[in-house]
C-alpha cells in the first residue's frame, strides 16, 4: 500500500464514512431508546404479532422478541442496517476503482513508481477502514445506549452485541469484496455499479425469499446474507465461527482476485 494515496483517499472520503457511521449510530440509539417501552408492553405486542403470518415474521427476524438483542436485531440489524451498509459497500467499491478508471484519473494514480497492485491494495484498505469506522460508531452507540437507556437485566450481553456487529462487519467485508472485484474488471463506472448493486440486491432478495417460502429455503445457501442472522446470534443459536470463516474467505479471495485482475488488464487511460 501507499501511505500518501491512503491518507488522501481517507481525507476525501472521511465525510462519507462518518455520515454513514453517525447515521447508523443514531438509528441504533433511537431504536434502543424505544426498547423499555416495548418491554413494558411485551404481552400486548406478542398478542399482536400472533396476527401476522409466520412467513413475514421469519423474514423480518421477529420470531422471538423477548430480549434487547433480539429486539435490536429485528428492528435494525435485520433490515435497515443491511440496506445502509449494502449501499455503502457497493458505492465505495465502485468509486475507489471503476470510477477512477472511467474518468481517467487513474492515469494520475498510475503515473508514479507506485505499482498497480499497491494502488488496488491501498483502495481496499480505504474501503475496509470505512467499514471499520461505521461499525465502531454503530457498536459504540448501541453499547452505550444499552448501558444507559435500559435498566433491566435483559440488557444484551456485551459479547453477543459485539458478535452481531463483528459478523455484520465481515458480511460487508465480503459484499465490499465482490463489489471491488467487479469494480476492478470494468472500464465503465455505471456498468460496474449496476452489476455489483444488482448482485447485492439479488443476494439480499434470495435470503428474504428463502426465509419467507420454506419450500425454497435451499436458495439461501447461495447468498452470503444467510450467514448473518443477528437474531440467532442474540439468542446464542448461531454458528458464529463458521459464518466468520466463510465471510472472511469470500472477502479475502475477492480482494486477492481483484489485485490480480487489475494488475493484468489493459486500462483505457
Amino acid at each position: 500500500m501507499n501511505l500518501s494515496l491512503y491518507s488522501q483517499m481517507m481525507k476525501t472520503n472521511v465525510k462519507t464514512f462518518f455520515g454513514f457511521g453517525i447515521g447508523s449510530a443514531i438509528y441504533v440509539t433511537l431504536m434502543t431508546s424505544l426498547f423499555p417501552m416495548i418491554e413494558d408492553n411485551m404481552e400486548e405486542i406478542e398478542g399482536m404479532m400472533d396476527m401476522f403470518p409466520d412467513a413475514l415474521l421469519r423474514a423480518l427476524g421477529l420470531e422471538t422478541f423477548n430480549n434487547y438483542g433480539q429486539f435490536i436485531s429485528a428492528e435494525y440489524y435485520g433490515l435497515f442496517y443491511l440496506l445502509i451498509l449494502g449501499v455503502f459497500s457497493v458505492m465505495m467499491a465502485i468509486q475507489l476503482l471503476a470510477r477512477f478508471v472511467d474518468r481517467g484519473s487513474m492515469a494520475y494514480l498510475l503515473s508514479t513508481r507506485v505499482s498497480r497492485a499497491q494502488v488496488v491494495i491501498t483502495q481496499i484498505l480505504v474501503l475496509i477502514s470505512g467499514l471499520i469506522i461505521i461499525h465502531i460508531l454503530t457498536f459504540g452507540a448501541g453499547f452505550l445506549a444499552g448501558e444507559f437507556l435500559i435498566e433491566t437485566e435483559s440488557t444484551i450481553a456485551f459479547s453477543e452485541f459485539f458478535e452481531i456487529n463483528f459478523v455484520g462487519f465481515l458480511l460487508f467485508f465480503a459484499v465490499g469484496g465482490y463489489s471491488l472485484l467487479i469494480s476492478s474488471m470494468f472500464n465503465d463506472e455505471r456498468n460496474a455499479f449496476s452489476l455489483a448493486g444488482g448482485l447485492t440486491f439479488l443476494f439480499y432478495g434470495m435470503n428474504m425469499m428463502g426465509k419467507i417460502v420454506t419450500d425454497i429455503e435451499w436458495i439461501r445457501h447461495f447468498t452470503p446474507f444467510s450467514l448473518y442472522e443477528p437474531g440467532k446470534i442474540a439468542s446464542g443459536d448461531a454458528d458464529v465461527w463458521l459464518s466468520c470463516i466463510i465471510l472472511a474467505a469470500i472477502g479475502l479471495i475477492s480482494y486477492i482476485l481483484a489485485v490480480f485482475i487489475f494488475r493484468k488488464r489493459n486500462l483505457p487511460l
Binding site: 500518501s4 488522501q8 477512477f100 492515469a107 494520475y108 498510475l110 503515473s111 508514479t112 483505457p268 487511460l269
Partner: protein
C-alpha cells in the same frame, strides 16, 4: 532512453497502432505528431504500462514498460492528455498526494514551478479553468525531477504567454540533459523545441525525420495583396504559379523556394502579405501524394 519496437495493438473496431518503431536518445526532444485518433495516446499508454502490447515492446531505460511498469515509471514525468483529477481536492492536496507517491519530500522545486506558472494551488481543482488544471498537471509532471518526460499534448489550454513559459521550461530541462517525448496535433507547437519528430497516421508511423527537414517540407501559403491589375496579371504568369483569389489578392504556395518569391515580388508594389499556416493534414497529404508518385 525510450525505445519502441514493432509495437502493435489492434482494438476490436479495427483501429489501433501497427508496428510502431522509434527510439528517443538521451537529451533529445522528440515530437510525436498526428491528428486526433491517430494512435499517439495509445503508443504513450504502452510506455506508461497501461496496456500490454499484442506484439512488440516498449522500453524505458531498458526496462520493459509492461513487465516492469512501476520501475519504468519511476524515471518518468507524465502529463496525461486528458486531465481528469479526483473530486474534491485542492491543487495542494493533489500535489501532496502525487509528490508522496513519487517519493519527493522536498517542496522547493514544486514552489519554484508554481511561481513560474503563476497559479494559486489552494484553489479547489473543480473550480479551476482548463488552463489552470493544465498548470497543476505540469507541476506534478516536473516536480520530481525525472530523467524522462512524456507529455501528451502539453500546451493545450495554455494561453500564448504560458505556452512560452512552458517552452522555456522544456528548453531548460533539455539543457540539463533530460529526454522528452511530446505528442501534439499541431506542427507549430513542437517545432520550437523538438530535434526530431515522428509523424503517425492511422496507427502507422509515416516518417521520422529531423525537424528542419520537416520544416522545409512544410508548404506555406501567402496571400499577397497588390495595387495594380497589371501586376496581378504579371505575377499570375510567373513561375510561382499563384492563384487569383480576389481582384487584387493572389495566393502563392511555397515549399522552400523563398528566394524566388522575394525576387519576383520585389518588382511590384506590394500592399500586404499574410501567411497561412499549413495544417498537419496538408503535410500528410504531401506524404501521401509523394508515396503515390
Amino acid at each position: 532512453m525510450i525505445q519502441i519496437d514493432n509495437l502493435t495493438q489492434q482494438f476490436s473496431n479495427g483501429k489501433g497502432i501497427f508496428d510502431v518503431t522509434f527510439s528517443v536518445e538521451k537529451g533529445e526532444v522528440f515530437g510525436f505528431l498526428g491528428p486526433n485518433g491517430s494512435g499517439k495516446s495509445t503508443t504513450i499508454r504502452h510506455l506508461m504500462g497501461y496496456m500490454k502490447p499484442q506484439k512488440g515492446q516498449a522500453k524505458i531505460k531498458d526496462l520493459d514498460a509492461w513487465e516492469k511498469q512501476a520501475e519504468a515509471r519511476s524515471h518518468v514525468g507524465y502529463l496525461p492528455g486528458e486531465i481528469a483529477f479526483i473530486d474534491g481536492l485542492t491543487g495542494n492536496d493533489f500535489l501532496n498526494m502525487i509528490g508522496g507517491m513519487q517519493g519527493v519530500h522536498n517542496k522547493g522545486r514544486r514552489a519554484e514551478l508554481i511561481e513560474k506558472l503563476q497559479f494559486n494551488p489552494k484553489t479547489p481543482i473543480r473550480k479551476m479553468s482548463k488552463g489552470m488544471k493544465q498548470k497543476v498537471g505540469i507541476v506534478a509532471t516536473f516536480m520530481h525531477d525525472p530523467d524522462i518526460y512524456i507529455l501528451d499534448e502539453p500546451t493545450s489550454g495554455l494561453d500564448p504567454l504560458m505556452q512560452k513559459v512552458f517552452i522555456d521550461l522544456v528548453l531548460e530541462e533539455k539543457a540539463k540533459g533530460k529526454t522528452f517525448l511530446m505528442s501534439s496535433h499541431s506542427f507549430s507547437e513542437i517545432e520550437r523545441t523538438c530535434d526530431r519528430a515522428a509523424i503517425i497516421r492511422d496507427g502507422k508511423i509515416v516518417t521520422i525525420s529531423n525537424i528542419h527537414e520537416l520544416q522545409s517540407m512544410q508548404r506555406k501559403v501567402f496571400n499577397v495583396t497588390l495595387t495594380k491589375q497589371e501586376d496581378v496579371k504579371a505575377i499570375l504568369a510567373s513561375e510561382l504559379k499563384p492563384e487569383k483569389i480576389d481582384d487584387f489578392v493572389v495566393q502563392i504556395e511555397l515549399q522552400g523556394n523563398y528566394d524566388t518569391f522575394i525576387h519576383i515580388l520585389s518588382r511590384y508594389h506590394v500592399k500586404n502579405i499574410s501567411a497561412d499556416e499549413q495544417s498537419l493534414e496538408q503535410i500528410f497529404m504531401d506524404y501521401y501524394s509523394r508515396e503515390e508518385v
